[in-house]
């Protein structure tokens, strides 16, 4: 059974439909790229999958084994206040909140997982620094470490490389690939970067006002849809 399956999904806000008749599914270990122009509903879709927003119609089915506290989320960077006083370790540890229940403090297990994720993201040495003093790439790695601390099965990433310089961006891509391949966590990523999609994705969901494409990377490459939007082939 698939991890997340959307059937005839209609999404939008304030009763205004942004997207309708959306059908796709994501399985374990998949790496799904969601692409499309601004305003095509990418972020709305992410928010619907995360249950931050109710779908207008249709349904999103979750695998019974996939609980909300097994999904990690990397929000768009603008959603976090720039001047918030928070330490790196505080932020990464806060990913464990969703499995604490009413226990008031972190256990050794929570701390161990957070430490492991900080090592993986190479932010162990800046764990006492404040978030606001970090570079854009470091900030994104902190948020990715937090998302990883919160999840064990799926990660939703909303434009994780937007605003990063090319080196930080390719670093981010390779970290996400590690998470997907070695930790076997399904990744759903919103992005504008079609080259990276062809490089890393297993599946592509292309949203546009004139229709929706969902399929594997190779199906997409050979599709009319791709040719229409990108002239086809030039990005191979």
């Amino acid at each position: 059974m698939s991890l997340i399956k959307c059937e005839n999904l209609k999404i939008g806000y304030n009763d205004k439909t942004v997207l309708s008749d959306l059908n796709f599914e994501i399985n374990e270990n998949d790496y799904l790229y969601i692409i499309g122009e601004n305003g095509s509903g990418k972020s709305t879709l992410i928010k619907s999958i995360l249950k931050l927003q109710k779908p207008l119609d249709g349904k999103i089915e979750y695998c019974p084994n996939l609980k909300a506290n097994e999904i990690g989320y990397l929000p768009q960077q603008s959603s976090i206040q720039r001047d918030f006083p928070a330490g790196v370790e505080e932020i990464v540890l806060s990913g464990s909140i969703n499995r604490m229940g009413f226990r008031p403090f972190y256990t050794a297990k929570h701390r161990k997982k957070a430490r492991h994720n900080m090592e993986l993201m190479r932010i162990e040495d800046i764990k006492n620094e404040s978030y606001q003093s970090l570079s854009g790439g470091q900030q994104q790695r902190v948020l990715l470490a937090r998302a990883l601390t919160a999840s064990s099965k799926a990660l939703l990433l909303d434009e994780p490389v937007t605003g990063l310089d090319p080196i930080a961006a390719s670093d981010m891509y390779s970290l996400i690939e590690t998470i997907n391949k070695e930790y076997r966590i399904a990744v759903i990523m919103v992005s504008h970067d079609i080259n990276a999609a062809f490089k890393y994705a297993t599946h592509i969901l292309h949203l546009s006002s004139s229709g929706v494409f969902f399929g594997t990377k190779d199906e997409y490459r050979n599709s009319e849809f791709h040719k229409r939007f990108y002239g086809g082939g030039i990005y191979d």
Partner: protein
């Protein structure tokens, strides 16, 4: 110095010290989260609701705190609900509820007349706090502080990034409600000390000063609590020495510390800039 120490032999001063310190600590702890959530004005709004509730209590001859605490809790929950439904923006919701409660309070007072209880809460008078009010205030503020410590990590998570917490399966509304209830209790018992018009300063000033000085949430929280207690104690002492109104003097000591923290921050940034430019 002996004069200063002899102060502590008076029972009314002892009561003021205990209650005032506890309230200062509680309001600073909660204030960090409220200021960062851009809810600074919620304390002000709730204190006006508190005034309305106290007017009703006075008119009916009831104990002020028994009426004000539950009414203000309900108002705080209503504010949160209005805020999340987003039909009304947060600041206008606060303005509507607080001015409406204030208006109701003014009408009730004009009809039923004022009494000492009411004017104590209106302008604050920590030095005349009764034994019964002391006991109740101490119990309530100890409960507030304990709950804050027990839920500290969750309060951080929902303050830093509410969407993330909700998306990953944390019951955000539960912790927002907790924050609202704790704030309501603190505002009402704080009114006894600071007065309706000044109580919100306890929530806003110490966190703002601490945010200038510290980098992590934990250090900001601890520093805000310490600054708040220090400002209360020095404010109380100054007001006693100069026969100033206590609440207003505490606000001005807090303002002094806030200005000081701005200056310290400026100097620190200047040093940092100098050292990075000399590195290059």
């Amino acid at each position: 110095m002996t004069e200063f120490l002899s102060l502590f032999s008076y029972a009314f001063i002892q009561r003021a010290l205990i209650v005032g310190t506890l309230i200062s600590l509680c309001s600073a702890l909660l204030g960090v989260s409220l200021v960062l959530k851009r809810y600074s004005m919620i304390g002000d709004g709730l204190s006006h609701v508190g005034f309305g509730a106290l007017a009703v209590a006075a008119a009916l001859g009831l104990t002020p705190l028994y009426v004000a605490v539950p009414v203000v809790i309900i108002a705080a929950m209503l504010l949160l609900r209005l805020n999340s439904s987003s039909k009304l923006k947060g600041d206008s919701a606060i303005a509507i509820i607080s001015t409406a409660a204030l208006a109701a309070g003014v009408i009730i007072v004009s009809k039923s007349g004022t009494n000492t209880d009411l004017s104590n809460y209106m302008f604050g008078s920590i030095l005349s706090i009764s034994k019964a009010d002391t006991v109740l205030s101490v119990i309530l503020s100890v409960i507030v502080a304990l709950l804050f410590i027990l839920f500290y990590h969750k309060i951080f998570a929902v303050t830093f990034d509410e969407d993330f917490a909700r998306a990953t399966g944390t019951r955000v509304s539960l912790y927002n409600t907790l924050l609202a209830v704790l704030t309501s209790v603190t505002v009402v018992i704080g009114m006894r000390m600071m007065g309706t018009l000044l109580v919100s300063s306890l929530i806003i000033f110490p966190p703002l000063s601490a945010i200038r000085l510290c980098k992590t949430f934990r250090s900001v929280t601890v520093t805000a609590a310490l600054l708040s207690a220090v400002c209360f104690l020095s404010g109380l002492f100054i007001s006693y020495e100069l026969s100033f109104p206590t609440g207003a003097t505490i606000v001005l000591t807090n303002l002094f510390v806030l200005i000081l923290s701005f200056i310290i921050k400026k100097i620190k940034d200047g040093i940092k800039r100098k050292s990075t430019s000399s590195d290059n």
